[in-house]
Symmetry: C2
Subunit: 355 residues, 2 copies
């Protein structure tokens, strides 16, 4: 059993809350559930959250949006951030894991970019502290965009429109077209990709009718059974790390032996097969599930989590209720105008599709 | 020399017009140029053009937009129409030729989808009579989306939102989710992808100041030298077929021996290495050039065309003037809201990335 102090605290908190919840009954049960939920979860704010060391400005967001959608920043010039973090399908690709440069297949399911700004750290193993650190990864990964910082900067510098947009976004810098600013602009755009106003947000803000009875039952189960010990906060997850298989080890198709999760980051033996608790916002939009992307049904995912993380077998009704609750986590996606990219010039680097 | 009757007629017309143009001078030269241009070219209309056998309705356009952007219609579920006909970069990909399923490399440069509705036929060899016929090609091509009609229909039928959208778009059909209607909806969306209001359109509509002097000089050259014999009409091309290398055969890097162009469609010996004259609308946005996609500079493309099609060597100034004119063909792209796709269900076919 691998438990951090934080994890134990969360489990303990949830247990206390759950006991309180189970003791209540009758007319006050609804009020108690809402009160308990408000202590464990938080609604998505209706304003763009602040980002550490990177004030979010309109200029950065507009630039970051172009960068996010520009495939020419990859070596092949056909893969953009949006290829695997498709904003039209929950911020993820079709899965199970991403296909990138040279048709290479990635090791893990693409985590969603929506609401990623609320996660404590980025990637399944938390190896990037924030979205600007995250943004420098896939663009260079050989099985993803396979580019170099030089390719990115040469491409951006070859188009006067991009250079002007960097000057606007970073007005106090003499030479603003840098790989760091590329990442900061993407982070600023991604900070805008929040999905407020889900039924569950409305519930947390006091509207008891925002959830139906089945969803409330699912919410109560989600707390009582212990799911919320790991899946809590604004993002209903994304805050801390836990072994995948706390009570029972999943089979190798779900937990491939070669991917030891957070161990690769910390080298701590206790972090073998430890992953960041998946943020569950919009989870209904994002099958297949888990880092290996092998479970295509949300109900099956709920049953599996209960079995391997909590050591409990849920009834069919309980599974359905929890799925109904998870469906209440689907929020509202902002409208995004598809960007018209700056036009390449004679000095823009040519695509390279070599594997 | 392979010339159809239509082609000969176009060349003859252009010669007559060019002679008239050369004879005029002084104060009336500007008027004559505009009068001549109006006979050869036509502005892009400001309304969506009608499409044969497929009335364009809002419902079809909205559905077609979703289909155009939905990668789940490909076998791998990561390639959409928009992957190679990127609406953010002139309706084409980075080139030289498209990369598709299994990282296979296509034989020809992706032709642009913008203003394609004005072409007499689709593809470099005109093998599709219209955009609905065209839309059934790439989705099935093994080096492109590599899907089957069954995959497309199973995917669409697995999502109630899609089924409802087909019912709305084809209200008089009992079973509207068909491969033919899939193609018709895409055609309807693509018919909206027109780019009116280029400086040259404004010029053709009577505003002599819409082109600067260099652009007018380039326009005059474009007519006089004979470019407009093939590149004319609304789309400044896209209307008829001509040998690539009428006066001089290009080298094999530009004209690979294996790709005999329209010969594959007609099996007529005279159609060997014959291609549809490229439509030149927005050409400045669409490097690299020609069906083989090996020429990255528009000026180089102009010089090459003059040499191999007209047997003429242009001066540096003439090349620059024609390029300036071609830059006046860049029109206004409509704003496109990035579509939020219907959510996959447990019955949606899974991706297949096998090569």
């Amino acid at each position: 059993m691998n438990k951090s102090i934080r994890e134990l605290r969360l489990v303990a908190e949830a247990s206390v809350l759950a006991i309180g919840l189970l003791m209540s009954s009758g007319a006050n049960a609804d009020d108690d559930l809402m009160r308990t939920a408000k202590q464990i979860f938080h609604p998505i704010p209706s304003v763009i959250p602040a980002v550490k060391d990177n004030p979010v400005t309109h200029e950065k967001v507009e630039l970051g949006k172009l960068l996010f959608f520009d495939p020419r920043l990859s070596a092949s010039e056909i893969i953009s951030c949006n290829t695997c973090r498709n904003l039209g399908s929950g911020g993820v690709d079709a899965g199970p894991t991403s296909v990138g440069h040279g048709w290479k297949v990635g090791l893990r399911r693409a985590p969603t970019v929506y609401n990623a700004v609320f996660n404590a750290a980025q990637f399944w193993d938390g190896r990037a502290a924030d979205l600007k650190a995250q943004a420098t990864g896939p663009v260079q990964a050989s099985a993803e965009m396979n580019a170099t910082p030089d390719h990115v900067l040469d491409t951006l510098n070859s188009m006067a429109t991009y250079v002007a947009l960097f000057k606007n976004a970073f007005p106090n810098e003499a030479r603003p077209v840098t790989f760091e600013n590329f990442a900061k602009a993407i982070e600023a755009f991604e900070a805008t990709l929040i999905t407020p106003a889900a039924p569950f947000d409305q519930y947390l803000e006091g509207n008891t009718h925002a959830l139906n009875d089945q969803q409330k039952s699912g919410l109560a189960l989600f707390i009582e059974k212990g799911c919320s010990a790991c899946h809590n906060g604004i993002n209903i997850g994304g805050q801390a790390y836990f072994p995948f298989g706390m009570m029972k080890k999943p089979d190798a198709s779900l937990l491939p032996a070669a991917d030891k999760g957070r161990f690769a980051v910390t080298k701590a033996v206790g972090d073998e097969y430890v992953f960041r608790a998946a943020p569950l916002r919009n989870v209904a939009l994002r099958a297949p599930y888990f880092h290996s992307g092998q479970v295509w049904s949300l109900k099956q995912a709920v049953a599996l989590m209960s079995e391997i993380q909590l050591g409990a077998k849920l009834s069919d009704e309980e599974e359905n209720d929890i799925v109904a609750f998870l469906n209440s986590l689907t929020g509202r996606v902002s409208k995004i105008e598809y960007p018209i990219l700056p036009t390449r010039t004679n000095t823009t680097p040519k695509p390279s599709i070599d594997r």
